[in-house]
């Protein structure tokens, strides 16, 4: 009996042990179930975060910009000359004088936005404000000496001091990797200012595939570009561009006799590396207007040819050395028409005066160097020369008197940059620095940066009333300047 009871109890115990196992198989462990649910939720969260990250601003929008405070101290020398008084009046002799502005202060602010809209399509924008301290007009800098500073032009607005309006300096859409090839098409208000090698003295980044040679063009054009960067082992970084820009829209043909002013250019950069960058450029300006802000007549066309070399070598002594040299040729093709003044023939054509309508060839050269030390100190010097008939298209250049690269004569510049040894926060290239510099202009001929009328040798201004000038000519000018700049 006892044996029977023992067997029954043992069997019951075994059955009791077995039952929970059977129950587990039919009804899963709540803890495991919870873990599985959490794993699923975690995966869903991961996917959500991934989606959010892909749509986050930092994935498709880049914000950057710059601020600059600048102080200029300007002094010049105007020799005695004959003042042009109009087509129907005799020129008047004027005594020489020394214009001076001891302290001219300006504020410049730029805001850059780059949006990746779709794969291979971006929109790039630069908004720019540049104003004179204490006024909301350009009168202080547009003082009647040079054509490129006489008035604010469509392509120089924001680049020369005006007012505190934040304007669209650049906005263009780019379609890149067209048909999976290194080809791009870009249209809009172009990055055709601050081109290489002018970025060196500006302490700016290399323009990359953007921009045009600074010696030939420094002007904001509305237009388009078709570019191609072939992968050629022997030509590292090579690219070529076909560029088009509109400089003046003539409107409906039944309202005037004007034509549109257009610019066509071909740029080839066969090598673009740190030690060597070579650029070659040809531009043609069609139907060049007389007064950009009040076009009365077109004067003809201009061809430009340019070549430049830029090199940065590291480990030259304790620092790195950047050197550059650019050369350019301008050839004007006058059509025999003259600028209109009050509806009357002024007698001044495309680098010509009177009935002469000959082509004029001018040339310009630009060279400089900058030595960068590890301490953030950068010391630079530049020189440029322009011949009698040299006429580039540089009204938006960052110079107070006039675009130095359009000077018919010599310009010397020396500067020192001191970057602050502070860690970058907003981007890897953000920085703050002080810059002090000095420019000296030594003019050989009148009308630098002006394509209206024949230039006159400065030393012959009083030789004849026929040498009369519309704008007060400078014999020399200098500018001591200092800036505090922040790039973010």
């Amino acid at each position: 009996m006892r044996k029977l009871i023992r067997i029954v109890v043992t069997g019951a115990a075994l059955a009791a042990l077995a039952l929970p196992l059977a129950g587990r198989a039919a009804d899963p462990d709540p803890q495991q179930k919870k873990i599985d649910e959490l794993a699923k939720e975690l995966e869903a969260l991961k996917q959500q975060v991934k989606k959010d990250e892909e749509k986050s601003l930092s994935k498709w929008l880049t914000v950057s910009g710059d601020y600059r405070f600048r102080l200029d101290s300007l002094k010049g020398e105007v020799p005695a000359y004959y003042q042009y008084m109009g087509p129907a009046a005799m020129p008047v002799p004027m005594p020489g004088f020394d214009p001076e502005n001891g302290t001219l202060m300006t504020n410049r602010f730029g805001l850059n936005l780059k949006a990746k809209a779709t794969r291979n399509v971006t929109v790039t924008t630069r908004l720019l404000m540049n104003k004179t301290s204490g006024m909301q007009t350009a009168d202080a800098t547009n003082a009647g000496f040079f054509a490129d500073r006489m008035s604010v032009l469509d392509g120089s607005i924001g680049h020369i001091p005006t007012d505190n309006v934040l304007r669209v300096d650049q906005v263009f859409a780019t379609w890149s990797n067209i048909f999976d090839q290194p080809v791009w098409f870009s249209v809009g208000r172009r990055p055709s200012t601050g081109g290489s090698p002018t970025h060196v003295r500006e302490n700016g980044e290399r323009p990359g595939n953007a921009g045009v040679p600074g010696l030939l063009v420094d002007y904001a054009f509305d237009g388009m570009t078709l570019g191609w960067a072939p992968e050629i082992d022997a030509l590292p970084g090579a690219f070529a561009k076909l560029c088009y820009g509109r400089g003046f829209e003539a409107g409906y043909s039944n309202t005037n006799d004007l034509k549109d002013t257009d610019m066509l250019g071909v740029g080839v950069v066969p090598v673009d590396t740190d030690p060597l960058r070579i650029d070659l450029q040809w531009n043609r300006g069609f139907n060049i207007f007389d007064d950009p802000n009040n076009v009365g007549v077109e004067l003809g066309s201009i061809d430009w040819y340019g070549a430049g070399v830029l090199s940065t070598l590291k480990g030259i002594g304790p620092g790195s050395l950047t050197t550059f040299a650019s050369g350019g040729v301008s050839i004007t093709h006058p059509n025999g028409k003259h600028m209109l003044l009050g509806g009357m023939d002024s007698g001044a054509g495309l680098l010509t005066s009177g009935p002469d309508a000959s082509d004029r060839t001018g040339w310009g050269a630009y060279a400089g160097l900058r030595y960068d030390l590890a301490s953030g100190t950068k010391i630079g010097g530049e020189y440029n020369h322009g011949s009698k008939y040299w006429i580039p298209f540089d009204p938006a250049a960052d110079d107070m008197w006039t675009s130095k690269l359009g000077t018919r004569g010599n310009v010397y510049e020396a500067y020192l940059i001191q970057e602050l040894p502070l860690p970058a926060i907003s981007s890897f290239v953000s920085k703050a620095f002080f810059k002090v510099g000095w420019q000296y202009y030594d003019f050989d001929y009148t009308s630098s940066n002006n394509w209206i009328g024949a230039p006159v040798k400065i030393s012959e201004l009083m030789a004849s009333p026929m040498n009369a000038q519309m704008l007060a000519p400078l014999k020399s000018a200098q500018d001591f300047y200092g800036t505090f700049e922040v790039r973010f």
């Binding site: 999976d180 870009s186 570019g227 960067a229 072939p230 992968e231 290239v429």
Partner: protein, 108 residues
């Protein structure tokens, strides 16, 4: 304008000649366009770097080893950073994808 167009056509012809002469990628080279997701660079004196690129077409992650000084300089100076889109060519050596061409995609 006709003269200008003639010049443009001449340039286009010259460009086509350059394309023809430039040849094609070597047989053992692979081309890709990708966005940099990670850069491994051992300091300013590094002689090699590894960039992880996310292929824009396949979304696959590809590790590219960079040894040429020009590209290393750009990585060290932060002229090429994470998020940049790169057109690159590489060849496989000892199981590593070694860069033979590594540049930001062109455009402005």
């Amino acid at each position: 304008m006709k003269k200008a167009l003639a010049v443009v056509l001449a340039v286009v012809q010259l460009a086509m000649c350059v394309v023809a002469l430039s040849g094609v990628a070597r047989a053992d080279e692979t081309k890709m366009v990708g966005v940099i997701t990670k850069i491994d660079l051992a300091g300013k004196d590094a002689k090699t770097a590894t960039a992880t690129l996310k292929d824009v077409k396949t979304e696959e992650l590809v590790e590219i080893v960079i040894e040429d000084d020009l590209t290393l300089d750009k990585l060290k100076d932060h002229r090429i950073v994470e998020g940049d889109e790169i057109r690159c060519k590489y060849e496989v050596k000892d199981g590593k994808k070694l860069s033979t061409y590594f540049r930001k995609t062109a455009g402005c």
